[in-house]
Amino acid sequence: MNAPATATAQRKTQAMHKNLQAGICFWSFLMPALAGLVLFMAIPMVWGFLLSLSHAQNTIHPGHFIGARNYTDLLTDPEFLNSLWTILVFTLFIVPATFAFSLWLALAVHSIPKGKAFFRTVFFIPTAVSYAAASLIARMSFFSGTASGFANHLVGLFGMQPVQWIGTASPPWYWLVLVSVRLWLQVGFYMIIFLAALQEIPRSLYEAAALDGATGGWTVLRFITLPQLRNASVSILLLNLIAAFQAFDEFYNILGGSGSSGGNIGLARPPLVYIYNVALSSQDFGRGAAGGFIITALIVLFTLVQGRLLGFGSKEGR
């Protein structure tokens, strides 16, 4: 009478035990990643948001809440608005320039019959250089304002006076320095992505195009190569846009001079340098956090707009 009931109960406990074990396994595999995510992403984000609503001078403890005043202070500071404008102009220039230049390099390297690996390596090597090192080389030796600087030496060969590359607003040569450093450092990286994508394009497409009478490099490029590079292009544009919005190193190291509040940085101060100064020089962590959230919102907004325009995430082809 009793036996079947006991057996069922036993089976039930066994099943429960198994479930429990599976649960433990599941959580012990998940926990490290989850803990990392909570510890390094979720908590700092919530903490940062609370800070952005606090008057946190020389402290990182939220508590003295002042509502949205940090946000209104920032949005009424002409220098912060200037920094947003600066980064917008920079982004609108550097993203297409990087795109065009790295695509051109990739096509060139891809088309040469011999020595591909050599050129690929040569163009990729600058990616390994740090922004800080490259900025210092640009500021102190290449674009030094003295007559002995390399760029001024070249200028001197044409019989012209030494140019102050950094530090004068008219003409704003410092943009040349900033842009050339960033192009030198990042073009090689995006070139590699383009090269990988170029190798994925089936030869048969080109053969079919040739049979159909598509002649001339330009037609083939426009109707075969570029459409085939669409996915690579979209990701390069997105990565590039985010990287441009987060520009800090070359501005800080080239224009910052002796300290980040040096006079030249006022010529072109990107938002991250502004936030760095507010939070770490002025020690106003509340306003710094608020600035961080404003920039994040802008990056999300621009990424969404760009994604929508380029059809990011949609299935292949339109």
């Binding site: 001078q57 020389n58 304002g145 950094i166 530090g167 040096g262 030249n264 020089s281 106003d284």
Partner: protein
């Protein structure tokens, strides 16, 4: 332990033990131990001084303290690069330095970062320290810092160059501008005020030379026609083509002057030994000339201040150490002030009697610092400095109307001041 894991199911208790153990190991790895071999370890931070021998000197001072106090070890941390930021960040954590050098701000005091040090001074000490150094390191009557060195700026020139140009050392800013233009050649610029055209180096000095000031009695007072005129002159100077910009190092380093890239340079007295070695008896120096007939000659009263971190467990020991090093030990104070770069000792008796400061240029500098040295009070903070710098950049580099920019900066600074005083 040696049994294969797969056959023995892990119990919850075992799992918990493992986590606690791993977590504990992780945390104890992060925390800093206060003791080594039963000796208390005090951490002391310095920014990187550029002069040769400074690094060895601070380690020597630390060892000397252990010799007289065998139960304490002073661990020196020498920090290159952006010292202010690294220090400020470290002071927010429980693991910051015990003793550090910086410049006192009221915000640091209000945040409870620095320990009051009044009890370290005897009345004789107090009477012997430069009263302005004491005042600049006091907030509401409490002293929070001991000045280690006083610095000032000097305009260095070569006498022979002035002679061949038929000029005297400048007595007004206009004379300096004429001189800078005369000394400019295709290979050399007349004057070096830093790579930003003097925006940082002249930010306070020029308005001071016009008789203006910045923050007096908790009031922002720089929005005057004299300040505006001073910055307009800086813009003229920047447009004159006689300023060196884009040198490898900035105004605080003498190499643009010693290498001959600039005929004159505004630099600190700290660089005097290096400059004197390079230029010899041809060297001349004056403090910054008055803006015009209504102005005053001026230099900055700068330097570094030693403070005790109030948020460390061994504040009393740290205070004792700071007292030994920067109040009682005259040998160290003298060595630090004139052994490497040149600085004025904050102790008046040392400033008067140190032999190395009796040479013509340093003796002149010590005298001028006492008469014309100016500084901003602890209430003036980095945010105000940055608001003003932005305005001056707009005036000097972008040619925007000076009066409007100065007024806007004063508004911004008032906003910062209200925040600070709230």
């Amino acid at each position: 332990m040696a049994t294969p894991m797969l056959t023995t199911p892990v119990t919850r208790r075992q799992m918990l033990k493992t986590f606690v153990f791993a977590g504990g190991a992780l945390l104890s790895g992060c925390a800093r131990s206060d003791y080594i071999d039963g000796k208390l370890v005090l951490t002391q931070w310095y920014h990187q001084y550029g002069e040769k021998g400074t690094f060895q000197a601070v380690h020597r001072y630390a060892r000397e303290y252990t010799r007289v106090n065998p139960h304490i070890i002073v661990k020196v941390v020498w920090i290159p690069g952006d010292y202010g930021t690294k220090l400020a960040t470290a002071l927010l954590t429980p693991d910051g330095p015990d003793v550090f050098e910086s410049t006192l701000t009221q915000a640091m005091v209000e945040a409870g970062q620095t320990a009051p040090l009044n009890d370290l001074f005897t009345s004789q000490d107090l009477a012997d320290f430069n009263p302005r150094d004491i005042a600049l390191n006091s907030v509401n009557g409490k002293i929070y810092g001991v000045k280690m060195i006083d610095d000032l700026g000097l305009l260095y020139y070569r006498k022979s160059m002035l002679q061949s140009a038929g000029m005297q050392p400048p007595a007004t800013l206009d004379e300096l501008m004429t001189l800078a233009a005369k000394l400019t050649t295709p290979q050399r610029k007349g004057l070096f005020l830093g790579n930003d055209g003097g925006i940082t180096a002249m930010l306070n000095v020029l308005p001071w030379s016009a008789g203006a000031d910045f923050l007096v009695n908790s009031q922002i007072v720089f929005n005057t026609p004299r300040t505006v005129l001073a910055y307009q002159k800086l813009q003229q100077l920047n447009q004159g083509g006689s300023l060196l910009m884009g040198a490898a190092s900035d105004w605080w380093d003498p190499s643009a002057f010693t290498s001959g890239q600039a005929a004159m340079q505004w630099c600190g007295m700290w660089a005097y030994p290096a400059i004197a070695r390079a230029v010899g008896s041809d060297l001349g120096a004056v403090i910054w000339p008055p803006l015009d007939a209504q102005g005053v000659p001026v230099t900055f009263l700068g330097g570094w201040t030693a403070m005790v971190n109030a948020n460390r467990p061994h504040v009393e020991e740290a205070k004792k150490f700071l007292q030994w090093q920067w109040i009682q030990n005259r040998a160290i104070q003298t060595d630090w002030c004139v052994g490497y770069g040149f600085h004025v000792p904050p102790r008046l008796s040392l400033a008067r009697t140190t032999p190395k400061l009796q040479q013509p240029v340093p003796a002149y500098a010590v005298n001028m610092l006492g008469k014309y040295g100016k500084a901003t009070p602890p209430l003036w903070n980095a945010a105000m400095g940055s608001d003003l710098t932005n305005a001056v950049t707009n005036i000097v580099k972008l040619g925007q109307p000076a009066a409007q920019q100065v007024a806007a900066a004063a508004d911004m600074c008032n906003r910062e001041l209200q925040r600070e005083l709230e």
